[in-house]
């Protein structure tokens, strides 16, 4: 292909110097835009759910509460996140490799299938034909079209993932990059592999259930739960891998964060691929269908090797940030790299908050609750919901938001609208979801159930009275929830206004520093360092991060054994 032909279908990014394929750019845009639309539906549902669970307001009637809960789960956990991830895959597989998009028509087919499937699901849910919650546990039954919608969406997503693999092959064959895949793309690759595993499980559960819903075959409730969670939990592991890849991306873009060891980080990603799908068992620990040996082996991802991977990234990402900062001259003491960091850059603050909330709040609680016996204390209480709002919302969604502040100028070529508001957004969203999650976790420790319309049990045959502190926790839950929702709405406002009505970003505005974009776009930090500088950085290491990870480990150990202590005090059972 002549260079002219390439020139016609691509442009060169003036910030990163990367070649941007036009059809990849368009597909990234549409997928990202639909992701935000789905997010908006999910947020709208969240408003009503918070105001219903807050017993002082108790907004929705019971049927609409469960309907909104169904919509919230699907839009947030499936539609928003997977549309966004498809955009991330196209970015990492095509743009980052200076390559071209293979078979754009297929990319549009995948997009159409996903939009059609998601649309069908939305219609079924909002018309009250699928009040089965996100999990649709058999024998709860939805309209067959509901399952069909999910199947169409999953097929589309699978095609999108396959196009990412094809893009990697094209880039390698056409030699658009030298050496190995960048770590970020490698991380995206692991997310894509996990996505295939997830979507195959999706087919294994939804296709039989589709036929079951038409009375054409039998479906065992326990087998359904096993297969569903091989989809449902694994899909959250796509998020983990994609989120960690974004952490590395943002570390590089915002402060020139370096990769300490390609080997260690890549092994950690590899561990995700090998072990993370076993976490289906997290949902089945107090189920009658599985033996203790099966539960222990699977819930621990074969001896916690996927947890090990997260513990590794939890060190290498902040350590990479620390060393990047030290290389840029912020060398004083243990923590100058933190105090002199670009805290006004929503890409950076979002990155840090995502790492902290995911690790300290989501990670510690998740591993603890995923312990076979400790799960007795927590299964289906609000502790579970609190945990995964810390991981998926405080971790993944916040990382996606943070990277969006870079995607807007780099892909959409627009300035960030309401930039001063955007600077505050990660703090608002992060603190809100933290308060929300902790309030949920504590309510769950008092036994407040998840997915429950009426914690006052007004019409139940026997009265249930929670201690008064639960009322306080409901109020803090509402405050945290409203803060997080406000943060989410600001994010949507900024993203939508930037993309559709934003001021076009010009090279001149970047050059003279007047563009309202994150500082990493105005002046990209160095992405490579000389041998001598690298040796110096390695010698200094990341002492500040080492202190932080030991604080983390201390809290982890404390929380974990406190839970064993609590367990030892309840009725003997076995």
């Amino acid at each position: 292909m002549s260079s002219q032909a390439i020139g016609a279908t691509s442009r060169t990014c003036s910030v990163t110097g990367l070649k941007v394929d036009r059809s990849a750019e368009r597909l990234i845009k549409v997928n990202a835009v639909v992701a935000i639309v789905m997010f908006l539906i999910g947020v709208t549902a969240a408003v009503m759910l918070v105001l219903t669970r807050w017993q002082a307001v108790h907004l929705l009637p019971a049927d609409w509460y469960y309907r909104m809960l169904t919509a919230h789960g699907l839009n947030m956990l499936i539609f928003f996140i997977i549309f966004f991830e498809i955009a991330v895959l196209y970015f990492a597989g095509v743009v980052m490799l200076n390559s071209r998009f293979p078979a754009p028509w297929l990319g549009w087919t995948a997009f159409a299938l996903m939009v059609g499937g998601a649309g069908l699901v939305e219609i079924m849910v909002f018309s009250g034909k699928a009040d089965v919650l996100f999990t649709s546990y058999v024998p709860l039954r939805a309209d067959p079209l509901y399952y069909l919608g999910i199947i169409l969406f999953a097929v589309g997503a699978l095609v999108g993932v396959m196009l990412f693999f094809a893009a990697l092959v094209v880039a390698r064959r056409e030699k658009t990059y030298e050496g190995s895949l960048p770590l970020v793309t490698f991380g995206a690759l692991t997310a894509a592999i996990i996505a295939v595993v997830t979507l195959v499980h999706g087919a294994a559960v939804y296709i039989p259930t589709f036929f079951w819903s038409m009375d054409m075959m039998e479906m065992d409730p326990e087998v359904y739960r096993l297969l569903f969670w091989a989809l449902g939990h694994s899909s959250q592991q796509i998020n983990v891998a994609a989120m960690v890849a974004i952490w590395y991306l943002l570390a590089g873009l915002t402060v020139g964060g370096v990769v300490l060891s390609e080997k260690v980080s890549r092994i950690a990603f590899g561990l995700y691929v090998l072990f993370i799908s076993m976490a289906s068992a997290h949902h089945l620990l107090v189920d009658p269908g599985f033996s203790p040996a099966w539960k222990i082996w699977n819930t621990s991802y074969a001896m916690y090797l996927a947890v090990l991977a997260s513990l590794i990234h939890g060190f290498t990402v902040p350590a990479g940030v620390e060393m990047g900062q030290r290389l840029r001259g912020y060398n004083k003491g243990l923590f100058e790299w933190i105090t002199r960091a670009p805290w006004g850059d929503p890409g950076f603050s979002g990155l840090v908050l995502s790492v902290v909330i995911f690790g300290f709040l989501g990670g510690i609680t998740g591993v603890t609750l995923g312990t076979e016996q400790i799960n007795i204390l927590a299964h289906n209480t609000l502790r579970i919901t609190g945990h995964f709002h810390a991981t998926v919302v405080g971790g993944t969604a916040l990382a996606f938001m943070a990277v969006t502040y870079y995607v807007i100028p780099l892909i959409f070529r627009k300035e960030v609208a309401f930039f001063s508001l955007a600077k505050w957004q990660p703090y608002l969203f992060g603190s809100g979801i933290t308060i929300f999650s902790i309030s949920f976790i504590l309510q769950g420790m008092f036994g407040v159930p998840r997915r429950h319309w009426d914690a006052s049990f007004r019409d139940a045959p026997f009265a249930v009275e929670f201690p008064p502190v639960v009322d306080v926790l409901m109020t803090t839950m509402a405050i945290g929830g409203i803060l997080a929702i406000t943060g989410a709405l600001i994010f949507i406002l900024v993203a939508v206004v930037s993309v559709f009505f934003g001021k076009p970003l010009t090279d001149a505005a970047i050059a003279n520093g007047t563009a309202r974009v994150p500082q990493g776009v105005l002046k990209l930090p160095p992405q490579t360092y000389s041998e001598a500088k690298s040796a110096e950085a390695h010698a200094k290491g990341a002492p500040g991060t080492l202190v932080l990870v030991f604080i983390f480990l201390g809290l982890f150990v404390l929380y974990y054994f406190t839970n064993w202590k609590m367990l030892s005090q309840v009725w003997r059972i076995g």
Binding site: G252, L260, V264, V286, Q527, T528
Partner: protein, 186 residues
């Protein structure tokens, strides 16, 4: 050295730094502790969700529940049979939309084999305020040996969504001191 955006050139399979090795080692050891705790608790601990797990036909389980309710029935409350099985007995509790099959009266310190199952949907057995939670799945008999360690009033909250009236599905368990004196909670 470079960021994660840059394609590494040449051989990058090189030894990790000292700090990374230290952290990976400690993290690995911690992971092994996490793993070992679960088998350890099966041997030494008193709370394990193991039990005896068998498949059961929902109608057969329902019949068994009826026989159990008749055999040990001591009264009625709000339309539910109040059942007081002797220590050591097999206890059958069934969830159905949207109720539990009986009010149970148990003795503190006595052990019972609690059989849980469902007539229809998935249900959740959440013992309040102990905060002891189990999944109740139709077609499966989940039998667990339980030993109440306190007397008093308990509730069984369904904490698995089971349809329109899920939030009203609450049962009652009373634990009395050995000898049968009921503790008043007024």
């Amino acid at each position: 050295m470079h960021s994660g955006i840059v394609s590494p050139k040449g051989v990058w399979w090189t030894p990790a730094g000292k700090q990374e090795k230290l952290w990976v080692t400690i993290a690995f050891v911690w992971c092994m502790v996490l793993f070992a705790m679960m088998p350890f608790w099966h041997i030494k601990g008193g709370q394990n969700p193991a039990g005896v797990r068998t498949r059961v036909d929902p109608s057969a389980f329902s019949d068994r529940v009826d026989r159990f309710n008749q055999e040990f029935r001591v009264g009625e409350e709000k339309g539910f049979p109040v059942v007081a099985p002797p220590p050591g007995a097999d206890v059958y509790l069934m969830g159905s939309m949207w109720q539990w099959s009986s009010v149970l009266r148990l003795e503190k310190g006595a052990s019972y084999m609690l059989h849980l199952s469902s007539a229809d949907m998935n249900h959740g057995f959440s013992l309040y305020p102990v905060n002891l939670n189990l999944q109740v799945v139709p077609g499966y008999d989940y039998a667990l040996k339980i030993t109440p360690n306190q007397a008093g009033e308990f509730r069984v909250i369904c904490n698995e969504y089971c349809g329109a009236d899920h939030h009203n599905m609450v049962g009652r368990i009373v634990v009395v001191e050995p000898g049968g004196k009921e503790v008043s909670h007024e």
